[in-house]
Amino acid sequence: MTTVNGKQYVFSSKSPVMPILLWLIKNNRLSEVRSILEPDRNYFYPEKADKNHMFDFMCNTDIKKDTRYTAAAIKQQNAEILKLLIDYGFSADILNQKKPDSACEDEFGSFGMISDYIYIDPVHPFVTEDKNLFEILLRSVKNINQIYSVCWNENGETYYNEMSLLCIALYFNKMDFADILVKKGARLEFNMYRNILDFILSYKNLWGSSFTTTGCISRDASYDDPPEMLHEWSPIGIILRKGDAKQIEWLINQTEHNPAAAHEVAGSVYYLQKNNFLLFMKKYPEFIRYLDWNSICCFANEDAMMLYLQKSKPELEEKDALKLLSFGNLVFRPFRKLYDIVLSEKLYNCIKLLYRYRPDLFRSEDVQNQLYNIALLATYMDFKFKKGDTNAVSSKLLDFYNQISTSVPDATVFVKWYYGAGKSSEQYVMNSRDSAKLIKMFRITGKNVRPKINLSETFDSLEDLTLVSCSELASIMDTFQFYSAGEFPNNFYKLIIQTDSISLLKKLLAASSLNDKELEELTEYAIDKGAEKLIPILLLNKMKRQHQ
């Protein structure tokens, strides 16, 4: 802590006000305010920034950058003075920034982690509720589609988002303001937000392009954009997710002469849930024809699927079934969405719908295997996040799999994900005891068969071998049967050798049928790694084979 003369140094980020100007604004003295502003604008030479002065950026001497004057006019509800100030170039806050309750301001006046975000009041997200003042305030906004990084508290959770003014108005039910914004040219369609741009274009050198200054690029969503991330917080996405009938009606009216927006509505109807979806389609049946299998699968929207199957009667193929059951596409989602889709029965219901429509597609081994691995994922998620839930989706998925399965299941896809992306992500990590317990849950009850795993594929991307404990390795060997066509010894064998555990090695030798060459290579690897306890056993095995 910096101290001056034994006193705590307090950083002051705001310049002193022009007190008379402020007093005049607070006392609604329009003509006097004008008599201060008039010479301020017309009399002086334009200020030249002294580029040589390294401290200039630290001091805010331009009174117009200070928002306290416009804030005073807003408080007075004095539209004339507010208009005057904004026309003279005074800055204004349009968002109602709220100091977070628990935030601790540091000596530089910022709020720790959320300093980049404007913490808004969800009840009053804008500085005014007055339409006239809001419209005047919009004059101070350089780009009506500008994106603001905002955060707010809702039901005890803090949301962080990049939103346009229109998004904020729609999300927080300020429909009068939404009307004004649309009238002034705010985009109803999706904007390329900064964080998504970072995500998609991180490999391309786009810095310095227009989005860095405006916070947005006015462009429609394209095929390459991950649909899950794109539309959710677009004005259209917000309305459809909320499912408020009045807002939806407003949206449809707005899209009447806006084909791009109408197109986005057609692509985003999957955000509507349950009754809202069906009510929407009943009221606006023209959107039924836009329903699309890929999007239905991506959003796992059972109502959309039901309607699509009923109305379009599509000729589906195995690849379409795999689109719905793609384990890879599923786990590519952010955690919250994965959790929502897997554990809310949405996906299960979609699978059942598809099965009822085309049971023959489930005869495919690939389809069965993807379903099995999704069931394992659900088992894992139930176990980790919903311990003790007796009505778990995972059991339904496994039961359904057992009902349709015609071959030995292959758990490679799940196990590979679990020991790769899963284990390396903080969100999914589990202690070794629970991991071992989980793996044992994968035993198929009532059947005298063990699920398969491809050893070389399963552990080939595992870089940190310490991530797998001895108890997990034992569980894996107890639960699965192995097959492998890759390089020998693969990571799994290496893991066992590195543990230098006799019992694990015995299990391994019992579980795998190593040929002489493989046994020799494993012995060499053990010698190389100095697995002292295992070397004699391996050599003994080798000798036994030679004598046989």
């Binding site: 006193k7 009399y43 001091c59 001497t61």
Partner: protein
Amino acid sequence: MIHTKTLIRYITDENHFDKLIQRLKDENQNLAGQWIVIDKNEAQSGTYKNINLYREEKKVVISMSGSPACIAAYAGNIRLLDYLMENGLLDDLPSLDPQEEVGSIFCPEICCTMVTETDNTYSEYCEWFNGLSPISFTLPEGKLDCFKLLMNAGQKCDFRNRANFRLLSLCRNRNFWEYLIDTGLLDRTLLLLAADYAFRYRNTETTDWLINHYNLFQGFTKRSMD
């Protein structure tokens, strides 16, 4: 070689003019190319008795850097200014060494620091006034004689330059204000804004005087600000 602190003492005190000239002669030195810096600590601690750099009751500190003409103008040393004019040193600035880095460019400036202290805390706010000419240095203390001398010598003080206008707002010398207004150098329509800037720079007595003396508007008192 005259020590910098001694040089500043001579420059800021008209009574030391003869001594300064004699010392320069003795040391075979001159004032051309000299660059004077008075930092905030020197200003606040009253290192130089004959120049008013710290308004203690308002906790306003004025630090500066510039040529001897600039410092003499601020201090009101009319004899030295006259001498510098005669010797063509009014607009003299140290020549730039091309080897020097950009940061060392000599640019006369004044810095006004406003300190706020409570029992336990200390904070300060600064405003810089850059690219000034010697006549601008007469404004904060309202050194009328120096101002007139420099005007007569052809120096211009344009209040359309915002730095000059804001420096004037620091001025507590009513005669100086009246002179500027009576001669038309300062437009009357600017007085309300000037009064506001004066308040901003804690020159509240001048604010009151401007508002009342020139009847700028009704109803405002310092108490009504609360």
